[in-house]
């Protein structure tokens, strides 16, 4: 079943086209990575798909719900971990998780169970009572993703989840993300090629607001005669159009 379908999705800011006629289809349970340099249109795409900004043209459906006409329904199925760590600073780790679970209307018993599960999954148990503001960058990022997952989303948007993390923190986060594969549809934006390579079922490469190529990592390597995803990315991002 299709989780996300974008049709001619376009966003224009004054004279700049941030996203241009994006056509994309993502299956349920798929981990899809959007790669691109700064300003390629990745974050704008995510903002449109999560109903944060309105498309200038085109539309998209999330599990069959049209984003422009039915945003409140869309919001029941999605969750976002924004690029910048998004936690309530003066709340403890547990309180942050409880807040998100309560906003999605879970009963007390479910809230407690979900909080426990997230603390366990994201190895936050030792800092349960600590205020978010006192956590390290890596822990804050783990908390941020745990907050996105506590609502049992069917679709999870991770906007550069490992940006600024050290190697160990990044690997820990990869492990957590890998566990979601098949259960949750994940749309991941990243600058890191090895991250996309390690985690993705399929990769989309954006440049100047256009989706230049889409396919599995091996498909992209074959098409561009490259040995690494980085090489393939550079080739694709610099070319006008690549048909896959």
């Amino acid at each position: 079943m299709i989780a996300i379908k974008a049709t001619n999705l376009t966003k224009v800011y004054k004279n700049k086209t941030a996203v241009n006629n994006l056509n994309l289809s993502i299956q349920q349970g798929e981990l899809f990575s959007l790669l691109g340099v700064n300003g390629a249109g990745k974050t704008t795409t995510i903002k449109m798909l999560t109903c944060l900004i309105k498309p200038t043209k085109g539309d998209a459906t999330i599990l069959g719900n049209i984003i422009q006409s039915n945003p409140q329904e869309v919001k029941k199925f999605i969750s976002v971990s924004p690029q910048e760590t998004a936690v309530a600073r003066n709340l403890s780790v547990q309180e942050n998780l409880e807040l998100m679970a309560n906003i999605f209307g879970f009963d007390k018993k479910t809230v407690d169970e979900k909080v426990e599960e997230m603390l366990e999954t994201f190895r936050l148990k030792e800092v349960t009572k600590d205020k978010a503001v006192t956590l390290s960058g890596g822990m804050q990022r783990r908390l941020s993703i745990a907050m996105a997952l506590i609502s049992n989303p069917q679709i999870l948007f991770l906007d550069e989840p490992t940006l600024g993390l050290d190697v160990i923190a990044r690997r820990e986060l990869w492990t957590a993300i890998e566990k979601l594969k098949g259960k949750v549809t994940v749309i991941l934006t990243t600058h890191y090629m090895e991250e996309a390579e390690a985690l993705s079922d399929r990769v989309g490469i954006m440049a100047d607001g256009n989706l230049k190529a889409i396919g599995t990592v091996s498909e992209l390597l074959t098409k561009t005669n490259s040995n690494t995803l980085e090489e393939a990315f550079v080739t694709i991002a610099k070319k006008e159009e690549v048909n896959l």
Binding site: T50, K54, P82, T85, V87, R89, M100, N102, I103, G105
Partner: protein, 245 residues
Amino acid sequence: MKLLAFATRNSKEILRDPLNLALGIGFPLVVLFLLTAIQANIPVDLFVIEKLIPGIAVFGLSFISIFSGMLLAKDRGTSFLMRLFTTPLTASDYIIGYTLPLFPMAILQIAISFLAAVFLGLEINFKILLSILVLMPTAILFIGIGLLVGSLFNEKQVSSICGALLTNLSAWLSGTWFDLNLICGWFKAISYALPFAHAVDAGRAAIAGDFTAILPHLWWVIGYAFVILVVSILVFRKKMSGDNQ
């Protein structure tokens, strides 16, 4: 439930910022004690406790704007509000969620000011309760101003606008520190075209037991509070539908 969860979070964020609390409750009390001490040595009609306390309460409420404005601006400044915008919370959930925890805080702040005034000689009677009641629309007014400023400006700007400009402006134009009749006519006209002097006069009328004088002033405050709150909701909704457009 979701609204309550958000409102509880906002209460915690404010209450866990001790500097804000100390400033918001402590500073008006310091001013109250200072002016009362001046009154004890150099009697000034305006600083008699019955006339002074409604002005101090209104001055104290201006700090509520800092709480609401800073909280909203901080949330907008980080990605936290962006995260919440992708949840099923609606625009009215946000506005009520930001207002709800601040209203009891405002009432508590007024009550603390009046309690301090009792220790300084204010007679205990039902008119104190009436005055507190009369000041409630002023609390809504200042919460609304904070939400409006917090929706439009960043944390630093809110700090300047609400922390410096609003607290001073509302104090000078309220007739608390000096008699507005002593300054040229345009100053008084501006003061009474704004809600702050009306808020203080309504509070004073309640304390004095001049009940017929309350409503004419109170309508000004209620009108301003309503307009400011509606404008802040509209601005917030606009921001919510595309802060980054």
